[in-house]
């Protein structure tokens, strides 16, 4: 029987397109829906606490990149950091919320952009937690001896969905030209970028390596309707046959079913459900808060963090805030890409020391999913 192997992240990469865009210039890129400034913007920005973000568009709405090309760039950077090139890859696991195409999968598009030789691909389409679904595929493949070098990548090109022509002429805009809150909020929350990690059965050649101890994913979709989705309207989304794919693209567009939407009322219950999964892991001893030296949590908004801190303190499950690392405020919420962009910046920050444990948490409101990844810092093989 083949033994399971230890798996290490031997390189990370992040790709953020263009210059950082400040709050006052966001609508220059996203455009004005029906020529009106958004009434939602200021409130949403206060809620999410994001100062700057990146867009893969010019202010005229011309794309500078594709989702796939941004992922390919992040994979190349991660491979370089690990001392490898794309042709060395055995497996490419790629994740996104919405790829450039409807089909085939995102990994095929990223492989195409990499332009390298034959390899195994795996595509993961969900929302933020798709990143860790891809990571788990890469981790398991290396762990089981199916791959010697695997890359997990995740990317988002959200801004293109936020341009006026994705909303104008749909039921999401009222007679006065105002965009529905369930659509407008996300325009002020999500932005573009890609990230990647390369996994191998040995640590990086120099510096600190990161052993991937485990990756746990929990979906609660059996209990909740979709909370953040594209493809149906808010009112009809519980009925899968209401989806744009049944109505057809023109009717789907007119109903407002093509846009990315969020149900805020439901979000509160979904947040509690995520916290419940975390507390259950603490209770079962899977996670020891005192033993976590660094926490990288993809919370989509600053206020979410404030909401859960009190409960975590009361239940003895709080990881002290001094151990939290985030770059949400400067890099924006890049959905599935966020955790890799955060990990990449964290590793460059010089905070990590040998023997320390890093917990990554990626909650996804999509349909109530949450992923956890535990890492341990080890000395590189070259030392």
């Amino acid at each position: 029987m083949t033994m399971l192997r230890d798996v290490f992240i031997s390189g990370t990469g992040a790709f953020l397109p263009g210059e950082p865009v400040g709050q006052d210039r966001m609508e220059d890129y996203l455009g004005l829906v029906c020529g009106r400034r958004s009434a939602m913007g200021r409130r949403a920005l206060h809620w999410n606490g994001i100062d700057t973000r990146h867009y893969a568009l010019t202010p005229e709405g011309r794309p500078l990149h594709s989702n796939a090309s941004m992922c390919a760039a992040a994979v190349r950077t991660a491979l370089e950091a690990a001392g490898h090139a794309a042709d060395d890859l055995d497996l490419l696991a790629a994740a996104t919320t919405q790829g450039d195409y409807l089909a085939p999968g995102h990994a095929a598009a990223v492989h195409g952009e990499l332009g390298c030789g034959p390899l195994e691909t795996a595509s993961f389409q969900s929302v933020c937690a798709s990143s860790l679904m891809a990571a788990k595929a890469a981790w398991l493949a290396v762990r089981a001896g199916e791959a010697e070098l695997a890359a997990a990548t995740a990317g988002e090109f959200s801004s293109r969905w936020f341009r006026p022509h994705f909303y104008e002429g749909t039921a999401l805009v009222d007679a006065k030209g105002r965009l529905a809150i369930e659509a407008d909020f996300l325009r002020w929350t999500l932005s573009d970028g890609a990230g990647a990690a390369v996994m191998q059965p040995r640590p990086a050649g120099r510096g600190l390596g990161l052993r991937v101890d485990w990756i746990d994913m929990t979906s609660l979709a059996g209990r909740f309707d979709a909370c953040m989705w594209a493809g149906s309207t808010k009112a009809a989304r519980h009925d899968m046959k209401s989806a744009w794919s049944h109505a057809g693209p023109e009717a789907g567009f007119a109903q407002g079913a093509m846009a990315l939407l969020q149900d805020f009322d439901q979000l509160k219950a979904v947040i509690r459900a995520w916290v419940g999964v975390y507390l259950d892991k603490v209770d079962a001893g899977r996670i020891d808060p005192a033993g976590v030296d660094h926490l990288l949590c993809h919370y989509s908004a600053r206020s979410l963090r404030e909401e859960i801190v009190r409960l975590l303190e009361q239940t003895g499950a709080m990881i002290p805030e001094a151990r939290w690392f985030t770059n949400l405020a400067t890099c924006g919420n890049t959905g599935s890409a966020s955790i890799w962009i955060m990990l990449d910046a964290f590793l460059r920050s010089g905070r990590l020391k040998a023997g320390e444990r890093v917990l990554c948490i990626v909650p996804e409101s999509g349909r109530a999913t949450v992923g956890f990844m535990m890492l341990t810092a080890v000395e590189g093989a070259g030392r």
Binding site: L220, G222, R223, F224, D225, A235, H238, D265, Q266, K268, A269, R272, A273, V275, G276, V277, L279, D280, V282, D283, R310, L311, E313, Q314, T315, G316, A317, M318
Partner: protein
């Protein structure tokens, strides 16, 4: 927030953690019952709402009774907890009248709701509460209170507002749900104080958590049975 709470209170933190897990499991079960699904999807009917009130009333009538019975079974060593439970029962024992008034404001007839019977889930929930409350020092019921009060402070007001909006009802018809949301605000602080009166004790802690789990399952069954 007290320093003890801030540090996650060595005495209460583990049980609060287990209770929070039980609560989120309960909430997810509740959200997937047919009635709450219809509410969350904006598809609730006036008949649904009246049926909910009709079913809640039969169980809420018993609420103050089992808390009183529990109080009467608390020994002298836990005198403060007995006082708290008695106050609690006094606050709640007229609640069912509010439900009746809501039912009438929602177009129902008083004699109908008063003559209503418990559904299968309510029967199980009520019988369970009285059985537990009849034991000496029935501290496990703190777990049941955690579940039911969590429902009041976290879900009730949102449900009440959504029901009024969906069914174009006046505030007069959703007072029980909205009032509970407004009044149960600081129940965690109060609840921690009650826990501190009976902990540390591993057997009591386990019983509190078990009671929360059973109560959550039976409560969800009650809502599942609303037709």
């Amino acid at each position: 927030m007290s320093a003890r709470t801030k540090e996650g209170g060595a005495t209460t933190a583990p049980v609060l953690r287990k209770l929070a897990v039980a609560w989120t499991d309960f909430e997810a079960r509740l959200d997937s019952t047919p009635l709450v699904r219809r509410l969350n999807r904006g598809l609730l009917t006036i008949d649904d709402y009246r049926a909910l009130l009709m079913n809640l009333r039969q169980q809420v009538v018993d609420g103050a009774c089992w808390i009183s019975r529990a109080a009467s079974n608390v020994d002298e060593a836990h005198f403060e907890l007995r006082s708290t439970l008695m106050r609690h029962a006094a606050t709640e024992h007229r609640d069912y009248r509010l439900i009746e008034a809501d039912y009438v404001a929602a177009g129902g007839r008083l004699e109908d709701i008063r003559s209503g019977a418990k559904n299968v889930g309510s029967e199980a929930l009520s019988a369970w509460m009285f059985a537990e409350a009849s034991k000496p020092n029935p501290f496990g019921l703190l777990g049941a209170m955690f579940i039911i009060e969590g429902l009041g402070s976290i879900k009730a007001a949102g449900w009440g507002r959504a029901i009024a909006r969906q069914l174009s009802l006046s505030d007069e018809a959703v007072r029980f749900l909205v009032y509970h949301g407004a009044n149960d605000g600081d129940h965690m602080t109060e609840f921690e104080a009650m826990l501190a009166m009976v902990l540390p004790d591993p057997a009591v802690e386990a019983r509190i958590v078990r009671c929360a789990e059973v109560t959550g399952r039976l409560y969800a069954m009650q809502i599942e049975d609303v037709r």
